[in-house]
Amino acid sequence: MNLHDVTSARSPAEPLPPKPRNPAPVWAAAMLAVLWLIVRDLEISFETLVYGVADMGEYFGRYREPDFTHLSRYLELMGITLATALWGTVFALLVAFFLAPLAARNFSPNAVTYRLARETLNFMRAMPDLLLALIFVAALGLGPLPGALALGVHTAGFLGKFFAESLERVDKGVCEGVASTGANFPQMVMYAGWPSILREALGYVLYILDRNVRMASVLGLVGAGGIGLALHDTLRLFDYGQSAALILVILATILIIDYASAWLRGSLG
């Protein structure tokens, strides 16, 4: 049809084409059905929860008086835990830095490398860090090193995947701009890739660091050193005062890291 005719002749508007179907309600209903089936199958009882609230209140009450007499030792342990998390993160960053470009479809040199890199990252991510820590503790003995390694391997999988997905979102034009000069793979990665995702990547690293600090506190439970081991011991001894103090130290640290990373992200614009 001629465009001119449409604008000049003000005939009654044609009816709209049929509305496309929206499957969202069907999905929502299916989701609810699955949730209900799970509750029924696992015999989850909400009554237990209601009756349990009073008991839980009594239990938490035992933590009312934190005992900070060994604070300096706690802080030292927290330091070890932080160091474990930091080294784990640095390890993850190193691995992800080299693997992510290979696992990004638009940068990867060929399909085989892409698959291999992607599956390696998937494998690392699929290994729970608690399990890895158990393995490394068995292999390397007690201490922060197996903890750092476990965190590193597991979060390298995460960081690599995050980076790869960011790299895949790099503007196609920017990639072509650099590629059109004749840049090779490492040059493409360093000029079109990393500079374009720097801000996002920093956010991911800080998130992983934050997560690793929390996880490193728990890893102590399987013998990977740090504040977790101490918490494990005090809990075993029903020493609620010291346990409360340890938990508060962990919480404060995580809060500080949270604020610090928010500030860092803001200032790096």
Partner: protein, 259 residues
């Protein structure tokens, strides 16, 4: 001597769209060629084939005797620079680093991945920036510049490649008339002074007439006109811009009345 030789090129995209249907042409070394045509005529695809950003379905493109294919792509791209409509600079890098990107093909990855360049390359980048008049913006971030300035950085990057050919894919489509004039003048001057072969895709008929040595008209993947700017008459423009299946095209008449 022809700088670019395009031999029976056709291009069909995976979605079945046939962008180019048998293109044959030679582009003379040191000439300034403008490719005109409606959107979707295949102008961009043609240019991208020359730089190896697309691969032809049949036929081949030769640059000074070398066939453009995956094999010698780095070598060919180092001699065939590209300027884009959306500039395609790396936003977070400084202007000078963006220009130095033009030197990457000449250097191994060893120094360049650490953003280290030789004095020689810095000199080339400095010359390129002064050519486009952006010496004072050298250390600004590329995304802090205006559109016209960004396109000038794009041209400086192309110059830093010290290419035989510069391909410009609608370099002024996102710019205001004054910046457009600047960019076209700059490209023309590069062609005249350095003897670099320039091929430009354009939408503006008046710019094409004023700047080109030769105009190629494309429509639906074919070359429908090839001649000097003087030979571009109203009827030629009708041939270039006619739309399939539209007999009395009022929009076409109106558009060409002021072209």
């Amino acid at each position: 001597m022809s700088a670019i030789s395009i031999q029976s090129i056709s291009k069909r995209f995976p979605n079945g769209f046939e962008a180019l249907k048998g293109i044959d042409t030679e582009i003379q070394s040191g000439s300034f060629t403008v490719v005109l045509g409606p959107s979707g005529a295949g102008k961009s695809t043609l240019l991208r084939l020359v730089n190896g950003l697309e691969t032809p379905t049949t036929g081949e493109v030769r640059i000074g005797g070398d066939v453009v294919d995956g094999h010698k792509l780095r070598h060919i791209r180092s001699r065939v620079a590209m300027v884009f409509q959306q500039f395609n600079l790396v936003d977070r890098l400084s202007v000078v680093t963006n220009v130095l990107t033009g030197r990457l093909a000449q250097r191994s990855w060893v120094g360049s991945v650490f953003y280290l360049f030789r004095q020689e390359d810095m000199g080339i980048a400095r010359d390129a920036l002064s050519r486009v008049g952006l010496t004072d913006k050298a250390w600004s971030r590329a995304d802090k510049l205006s559109g016209g300035q960004q396109q000038r950085v794009g041209i400086a990057r192309a110059l830093a490649q010290q290419p035989k050919v510069i391909l410009a894919d609608e370099p002024v489509a996102s710019l205001d008339p004054v910046s457009s004039e600047e960019i076209m003048t700059l490209l023309r001057e590069i062609c005249d002074r350095d003897g670099i072969t320039v091929v430009v895709n354009l939408h503006q008929v008046d710019l094409a007439r004023r700047f080109a040595d030769r105009i190629i008209g494309m429509n639906s993947g074919k070359i429908v006109f090839d001649g000097s700017p003087e030979q571009v008459t109203q009827s030629v423009l009708r041939t270039i811009y006619q739309r399939e299946g539209i007999e009395d095209d009022n929009s076409l008449d109106m558009a060409l009345a002021y072209a």
